[in-house]
């Protein structure tokens, strides 16, 4: 049997019989000795209080608990296949109040100011990133003119190579398709470093007349880099005739939907 720490003397390590007392697995003499100790030990009283809900939860599980089962094989893939077919997201709570901007996937954080109204687009949750005030340069260099690649073919509408805009190792490609829900953009990129703290990658569709002083672009979506390869799927109602260029920037994750950050990837049309 345990040699008990003296009464009323603080001890750093938990008493060896706290668990046994809670679970009812002590011998009678051990339980009595522990109760004597507990009477004067605040540390053990606190520990008992913290763990006190566990015996009942375990007993409930024993007497009335669900059976165990394993998830059916293939359910994860079936679920994610189903997900891939359901693209548009519901507007976020913060997006529902104001509205404009054609993309379904917008910045994580809402626009603090009301963005410029758009008359086109299936849905117009706010957010979008039609920058009222762009703070930094926004030139997409090697542009992919998506509209000229349009076709009635159900095959990908356009395949775009993404090249680093800053000489870094990042590269990737994006495939644009038309679906009933709008345009889908599947982008795969490698060599992107995780965004610095407080920053987030954003993919844009950019109009011809987009300039530093008068940005004219919509955000397709934002993404987080967690590994060597990023795959993102977006749906957007953006009009490719109006926003024919694609690019990726890194933006402050500060709720400002305007384009502010440096360009990371440029879209370049892939030879067909």
């Amino acid at each position: 049997m345990a040699e008990l720490p003296p009464r009323r003397e603080a001890h750093r390590e938990p008493h060896p019989d706290v668990a046994g007392y809670l679970l009812g697995t002590l011998q009678d003499d051990e339980a009595r000795a522990f109760l004597d100790h507990l009477d004067g030990c605040e540390a053990c009283q606190r520990e008992l209080d913290e763990l006190a809900d566990l015996p009942q939860l375990l007993t409930d599980l024993l007497t009335d608990g669900p059976n165990t089962w394993s998830l059916p094989a293939g359910l994860e893939e079936r679920t994610f296949d189903a997900l891939a077919a359901v693209a548009p997201r519901e507007p976020t709570r913060s997006e529902t109040g104001h509205a404009s901007g054609p993309s379904n996937i917008t910045a994580i954080t809402p626009a603090p100011e009301r963005p410029r109204e758009r008359t086109r687009g299936r849905r117009r949750p706010a957010g979008l990133l039609i920058a009222a005030a762009a703070a930094a340069a926004v030139v997409i260099a090697g542009v992919a003119t998506l509209s000229v690649l349009r076709t009635s073919n159900p095959a990908p509408l356009a395949s775009i190579r993404l090249v680093s805009a800053d000489g870094g190792p990042a590269e990737g490609n994006a495939t644009v398709r038309t679906t009933d829900a709008g345009l889908t953009i599947d982008m795969t990129a490698t060599g992107l470093a995780p965004a610095p703290a407080g920053k987030i990658y954003t993919c844009w569709l950019v109009a011809d007349d987009d300039t530093l002083a008068h940005p004219d672009r919509v955000s397709v979506g934002s993404f987080v880099v967690r590994g060597p390869t990023v795959h993102v799927h977006w749906t957007t109602a953006a009009d490719l005739d109006r926003f024919p260029h694609l690019g990726v920037t890194v933006e402050p994750d500060n709720g400002n939907p305007s384009h502010q950050g440096p360009k990371i990837l440029n879209g370049v049309p892939r030879p067909r």
Binding site: P55, Q56, P66, A84, I108
Partner: protein, 200 residues
């Protein structure tokens, strides 16, 4: 004499205590990444964490594995579409996800083709019944997430009602190790329950 702290090699493996890179990301962070449009790694991680319980909810409430599968699929589709609606001030991610799942489960339950005309099955489960079920699924899930050594000592205690001395004999380990392992197991279970927003 019994050392207050007993080394327990069976459970000292850090794998028991560390959940890996994805596992260290909180549910709220994963939801935020999903809300930002990433349906890949974060959503799959949420699937790993929640699909078992959602499936269990479906099996228990709907008594049909096909409907339970449908519940899992619909819950994650809905989660993908509505992750941006999550507000931490209104509850935990677990509450958010199970709110989605229970609404969908009730929709599925109401679907006429989903039930046999068994009178015992006609009453819609109450919120309270569903709450208790979700809690038990969470406890089961938390227990299953422990190392086998930790889970075993708890199961021998509460399921088989063995005293610590009997557990020591059954497992062929010192009594002091049983005591230490029992305490570690309860501590880890507590922390796994907290991760699942479960409180007794």
């Amino acid at each position: 004499m019994l050392d207050v702290v007993t080394e327990d090699p069976a459970t000292d493996d850090p794998v028991d205590l560390v959940h890996g890179v994805a596992g260290s990301t909180s549910d709220a962070e994963l939801l935020a990444a999903v809300a930002a449009g990433d349906r890949d790694v974060p959503l799959r991680e949420l699937y790993q964490r929640y699909a078992g319980r959602v499936y269990g909810l479906g099996v228990q409430l709907l008594s049909d594995r096909g409907l339970a599968e449908e519940l899992v699929q619909e819950t994650f589709v809905r989660l993908w579409r509505s992750a941006g609606l999550y507000e931490a001030s209104r509850g935990s991610p677990a509450t958010f996800i199970f709110t989605i799942a229970r609404r969908l489960a009730i929709d599925l339950w109401r679907r006429p083709s989903s039930r046999t005309p068994d009178p015992d099955q006609q009453a819609l489960p109450t919120d309270d019944q569903i709450d208790r079920l979700v809690t038990r699924l969470g406890v089961r899930d938390a227990l299953d997430s422990l190392s086998s050594a930790h889970r075993q000592v708890l199961e021998l205690s509460y399921r088989d009602q063995l005293k610590q001395t009997e557990i020591a004999e059954r497992l062929g380990i010192p009594l002091g190790t049983v005591k230490t392992r029992s305490h570690h197991a309860l501590r880890l279970l507590k922390s796994e329950l907290q991760r699942r927003d479960i409180h007794g």
